[in-house]
Assembly symmetry: C2
Homo-oligomer: 331 residues x 2
């Protein structure tokens, strides 16, 4: 296991600590709940948007805390749902006059934690609601999921809700918006290698040189099949076709197109994937209004990628264009 | 070799093509010379800032083309210097009334190509000069280098020169500035795994589980020693101490601190490294004014990281703060 860490049990807390130390003017941290939050939260003027999920998917979700994105995140351990008290405390501490909206990706552990926390908060009179993300078209039901898994499409839900909440939208409007974004986003991924959670110390699944797991989940859950590694263009074609056929996306649709790296794939390869994906979009008559080629939702150091399409309307497009701030600096 | 590619010989051209397809409003491409350039170049109002180096270090340098950064890049193949004609054409095509400045990292192949291209351009009356980056403190002389290697510190040279050229600085002033930034920046890296260039098909060096190459170069050149893998804190302490002692950085210095991922290391681990690095900076009395925790100069999918310190003065600090645009989107 060739990784940078100290005590594997402190992997997530030390990551959060580093993140907050790197952003001392904007972020704060409650170590007991792995809670990273915007210093200026809760605000009287906006619904707080929060998320807590397993770690190991960075920059999702803890590195999406910032103006116009999440107001707080309370990640669990690597690939483990946050405990109920993390969720409950995160709701409570971000609650303001306009209430709290949590985003939960569709995994049983995450849902259970957030639903229990929601009940506890509601019992105290807190105005809290949640929305669920389940954008992965690859399989229905999986190791940790009933229904579809929530993967990189979550990024667009955060971006839209973060922007709309900054604009003053109320809780019910945000729930409607979050559902609309989720209804219009589809993803599928492929793994070329496995990955090793620090506390486990061994790969979460075995895969040989020259193989790929088509439709993999972001915790290494099985996809549709194990296959021999194909060319980049063939792989993208399979991902694109499955994603685009699912909604389905149709000629003339304005879309956002994301090629998301799973952690161990260099950005050079992601642009090779984007090249073919953009050609396929054009052939299908989709208008790619915005594109995203980077890491947004990873699986530690897994080599692999996912493709996401989001169907835009005027409202969503404006929200994607809205200003935002994240802790990660590109220049 | 579990990578996304089609024909290994088209790896770099397809990456460039994807990059330009993802940025159709701002970037253009001359396939014969792998030349990616700002559509609005050359400008009458600024010196053009260009770079061409081996590929495989993305986002360096081809993904640093944008307003306030590079005006053009002409990358060679993976880990191979660009041919002379790439450099010559890149100079010629970006030349405007204020001339051209190229940035070259200190590798023999890169220097030879750029120096020959410079001579050819000068003979045609083009006003061109170059500056060299050699920030790696780990070894003097290396596989491809006489003197110190140029590594992630190059990012700061690009950022400062890009901003100053936007402000209208002339060629001589930019040469002086580029030398100043290079004189004040120091880096050192460590590899936890090797990496595989697509055309080679096998790792560039062997390293076992539980080992690290302390002081590695960005093409896998040997560092100071092979050692057993240490804790994240111990590794950062060694990197930081070597970097900070070299200038040396002194109590009260205002600095930029970068933790750069080498490609295969998740950003979670980079923040664990940053945590300790920031503590060490504070202990030494350095004032970390800006920090950079992300991938800036990679070695394909190598797991590893480098640490860079840049000593700031008022001029450099303002240039780092200046607006810029790069093709990579974080939100």
């Amino acid at each position: 296991m060739n990784k940078f860490f100290n005590d594997p049990n402190n992997f997530v807390p030390e990551m959060c600590e580093g993140l907050v130390m790197a952003n001392p003017d904007t972020l704060s941290y409650v170590p007991e709940f792995n809670m990273v939050y915007r210093k200026d939260m809760p605000s009287d003027d906006k619904v707080s948007i929060i998320q807590g999920s397993g770690s190991g998917h960075e920059p999702a979700h803890v590195m999406a805390v910032g103006r116009g994105m999440l107001d707080a995140a309370c990640p669990g351990n690597v690939f483990a749902a946050p405990p109920v008290d993390f969720c409950y405390e995160c709701i409570k501490r971000t609650n303001g006059p306009k209430g709290v909206l949590f985003i939960v990706n569709n995994y049983q552990g995450d849902r259970m934690a957030w639903e229990m926390a929601e009940e506890m908060a509601l019992a105290e009179g807190i105005n809290v609601k949640g929305i669920m993300v389940d954008d992965d078209v690859s399989v229905k039901d999986s190791t940790h999921t009933i229904g579809r898994r929530g993967v990189a499409g979550n990024f667009f839900v955060i971006k839209a809700l973060g922007a709309a909440s900054e604009n003053g939208a109320d809780l019910d409007a945000l729930v409607t918006l979050g559902k609309k974004v989720n209804d219009n986003v589809r993803s599928m991924g492929v793994a070329l290698t496995s990955c090793t959670p620090p506390a486990k110390g061994s790969p979460i699944f075995d895969i040989s040189d020259g193989e790929m797991e088509m439709g993999v989940g972001i915790h290494g859950e099985p996809g549709r099949r194990r296959d021999t590694l194909k060319s980049a263009d063939d792989i993208v074609t399979e991902l694109f076709t499955n994603v685009a056929d699912d909604l389905p996306f149709q000629k003339g649709d304005r879309v956002a197109l994301m090629i998301n790296g799973l952690g161990g794939t260099p950005i050079s390869e992601l642009y090779i994937l984007y090249r073919k994906a953009a050609q396929l979009a054009e052939e299908r008559g989709l208008v790619v209004v915005r594109n995203y080629v980077n890491e947004y939702c990873t699986s530690l150091e897994m080599a692999g990628a996912s493709l996401t399409l989001l169907k835009l309307d005027e409202e969503i497009e404006a929200l994607l264009d809205a200003p935002a701030e994240v802790p990660i600096r590109v220049f």
